[in-house]
Amino acid sequence: MSLSLVAPLALGLLALVALPIIAHIARQKPKERVPFGAMLLLERVQKRLRRRRRIKDPLLLLLRLLMVALVALAISGLQWSYQGGTPQFGGTGRVIILIDQSMSMSLADGGRTLLEVAKSEADQVLEAIPDGTLVGAIVFGDEAELLSEGLVRDSSRIRSRIAALGPTLGKSNLRSGLLEARRMLEGEPGEIYLFSDEAGPTMVPEASEELRRIVSGGSAVIPKQIRANPPRNIAVADASFGTGVEGGTIDVRVSNYGPEPLEVPCEVTFPDGQSIPFFADLPPEGEIVERLTVPRAADGGVGKAHCEDVDLAADNERFFHLPRVGASSVLVVDGDPGDTPIRSEVYFLERALAPWGDRRGAVRPEVVGAAGLLSLNPERHQVVFLANVSDPRPYTPAITEFVRQGGALVVSMGTNVDPERYNTSMSHLLPASIRRVEDLAARGEMGVPLEVPGTDIELFEPFTRSGRSAFQEVRSRRLAMLQPYQDSAEVSTLLRYSGGAPALVQRTVGQGTVLLWTSSVDYDWSSLPTQAVFMPLVQRVVGYLGADSGGSAGTFDGVVGRSVAIPLPDLTVQPSVTGPDGNAVPTRLEGSTLVFTPNRPGAYSVSVEALPTIAWVAANLDASESDVRTYDDFARSEAEIKPDLFTRVVDLSPYLWAGALLLMFGIVLLGLPVLSSRSEEEAA
């Protein structure tokens, strides 16, 4: 705000203020001196006038001074300049309506959304535009969309298209909107009316460069702020899984962008339908992080955190990945069930897997016969134990696919095992071919002890030194001898007997792992089930094979409106993507990458028909769009680029003239003659 003069030299007229002063002084000293014989009356007159004169005299002088000053300033062309809230611009004949259609414009205020208000105000602007004006319209969310093919003279179609606009879940891409507007103007100056809430910390800064180009081109953006008063919104800003006690934790971050503290009900729902409700006690313009404990057992997949909010419902939920947690399903195939449980081949193995029962343990064993392999489910089972199964051939394809997808297979020997059958059907899975079964000691003898496992082997890392020594107590009287093999990247010997015979050999197949235990898991061939290391070894083997993690499906995060790229596994068919509503989502292949764009938040599954899910995509909204507060004033940014656009100049001359006339009128009213006195002595 400043004052300026059109003709500064005319300010010299201010020197005329001396005239009233001189006149004031001169009036008190008339030249003519006349003797007067009725001085008594004059003295009484003086007393009566003195009170009036005390007020009137200085006031009169002040009014005269002011009047002269006002006249001088009026002649000088005094102007008042100040920064306006919107650009002082117009008359270009080119008008573009730019409407923000982002998610934050769905914010409700007074029964209407901001978008509805923006549409209404834009319609009013279009209605008021003079005939002959070229008009265009653009709407922008994630991307800009033209509502008119360039600038047109008939705005009726534009108005109908604006009226049909609906809310979107996109982010405010003001930069693209301004870019399209600049293109539409084709280098000519124009006025761009921007209807936006200007919400979020990045909206205005990201568009500043494009704004600079527009302003430099002689155009102006006239912001029409559409804002709730005050803006309120509660959003689930983030939800993520983390390790911890029980089955882990879910951290839910809830943000309050309103000015008042609120308590809202929230709920976290896991992929298997379990849910945990909680209340979020939110501070004004702040956030809280609520940490929830995941149950010991929960299926992997995409979970959802949800909070209640009526102002802007779109961002009330957040999707997150949850690995399979808690008890892992281990399929134990008993090849020698026996007539009593204790005579069963897997009696000791089952108890080593679930020593406290299958509801509390970290591993949930499912003991089945050989036919139970048909129920093998990669989504549910992580490890399969083949214990003394006589003929694996009928189940080899399922076992093979299971291992390729990341499953783990543990094969143990026994009296039922026919090396020939194994070698012919499972040679692509076994670390080495089985040569023959060999007795190392007679019944009643101690057998051959195991060696102490090496410290560099990952499987035995959790074992302490004394724990590893305990492996020497395990003795086997009979074992399956293997064909000679070499340790390699695929095959490695994890444990040997004293003398060098392999005891436990690992092979990596695809994404899976196969372990071959060359003895049995019951008491027939080995003392292992009765040794202290048995249960820790079994538990460790299950953990080592990844049974405590989720399935083999990949996890990806996506943002609504933006492409998600998923690298595909080596498949012969193209997988499909199923959206949160159960419908297929359009996809495309870019090389070996599957690309699709989520159009709403939720869980998207990538799968091949009749096969388990390959990948999960948790799609969410851009969190920045939930912040409905205004960070940067668009007009302020524009004013920084070109302050002249916002400068308002008011010519004060008419007001000064009017003031001078008023003062003159006042002077005439007050300008009654004044009596003043001074004795001769004082005069001398």
């Binding site: 006349v34 014989g37 009356l41 003295e43």
Partner: protein
């Protein structure tokens, strides 16, 4: 009573004496013409003769018995048995040296009120006062009354107090004193009137001719000195209408010749105010005089307008002689408006 040494009268003073004598005689003749012959009422009176009644005569003096017998209207005439000493108190302070429009008279511009300058008899209020005093002295001397003169302020060449005396010689001395007096100094009416009242004989007639330009609250109470001696008080209040009306066409600096107080004045601003103040002042003086049984005669001088001045002079003398007081309804400025004396 004080008397200074016999002065040596200058030709100018002697010329003024002749002129005063002429004015007094002419005016007295005018006063004695027609039906307005003066008849003072004394404490003891004696029948003289009859005279036919003419309109304007006092009906109390009609002889009802003669009217009943002859149907003729006649009035009885009386003669006073005792002489009433008359004292004329003349205020000749320096303020009275002013005239029309204050001091904008040709005399003031010429003389500048220099010491030793005799006042112009036609151009100053002092001249008006002197001629009125001369007329009254002549009138009462003509009626055989002893007349005295007390000059308050004013330089009268030593003569400031002439006690009441009868005869032409006494009148001549009064005329000489009036011809030689110059307005000067401050009147100090309170002290002067008190002094005169204290040495006055009882039941005297005292005529005070003054502009009264001192605070009435200061000097009016001094009338008590006259009232205490049962004197017949007649106060002639002189004023110049053009002066009281601030008849100036532009702003001037006004100063009092008496004490030098100076006021810068814009006449347009003070004109309405001074009228109100003058009315209040006149009422204050009139009521003050009446409070002591005195007669109040407000008298405009009309200095510079010879015709109106003559009328005012005659009218004032007549009212004083006949004892006609100025009423409360008289506005000093109405007199200026219609040209008639109040």
């Amino acid at each position: 009573m004080s008397r200074s040494a016999q002065p040596i009268w200058s030709p100018e003073v002697l010329g003024r004496v002749r002129r005063l004598h002429l004015v007094a005689r002419v005016l007295t003749n005018a006063l004695l013409q027609g039906e307005h012959r003066s008849q003072r009422v004394g404490s003891a009176i004696e029948f003289a003769d009859y005279q036919p009644y003419l309109p304007g005569m006092d009906l109390r003096h009609l002889d009802w018995k003669v009217m009943g017998r002859s149907d003729a209207l006649v009035v009885k005439r009386f003669e006073t048995e005792t002489q009433i000493p008359t004292t004329i108190v003349l205020d000749l302070s320096k303020d009275l040296a002013t005239g029309a429009h204050g001091g904008r008279s040709s005399w003031w511009r010429r003389s500048g009120a220099l010491p030793g300058e005799l006042p112009d008899l036609e151009q100053t209020k002092a001249g008006f006062a002197i001629q009125l005093a001369a007329t009254l002295a002549y009138f009462f001397q003509l009626h055989g009354e002893p007349v005295g003169l007390e000059i308050v302020a004013g330089d009268s060449s030593g003569v400031t107090s002439l006690p009441p005396r009868s005869g032409r010689h006494a009148l001549q001395r009064i005329f000489l004193a009036l011809a030689a007096v110059k307005p000067d100094g401050q009147a100090d009416l309170r002290a002067a009137l008190t002094r005169v009242g204290e040495r006055m004989r009882r039941r005297s007639l005292v005529m005070v001719i003054s502009d009264g330009m001192e605070e009435p609250s200061g000097w009016v109470p001094s009338m008590q000195a006259f009232a205490r001696r049962k004197a017949d008080i007649r106060f002639v209040h002189l004023y110049e209408p053009s002066e009281w009306g601030l008849d100036f066409d532009r702003a001037v600096r006004l100063f009092s010749p008496e004490d030098g107080v100076e006021l810068a004045l814009d006449p347009a601003a003070a004109r309405d105010v001074i009228r109100d103040i003058a009315r209040e002042y006149v009422a204050e003086v009139r009521l003050g005089i009446a409070a002591y049984g005195g007669l109040y005669c407000l008298t405009p001088c009309f200095v510079g307008d010879e015709q109106r001045r003559q009328l005012a002079l005659e009218y004032a003398a007549r009212r004083v002689i006949l004892g006609m007081s100025t009423g409360a309804d008289v506005d000093p400025f109405d007199a200026m408006a219609d040209g008639a004396a109040p």
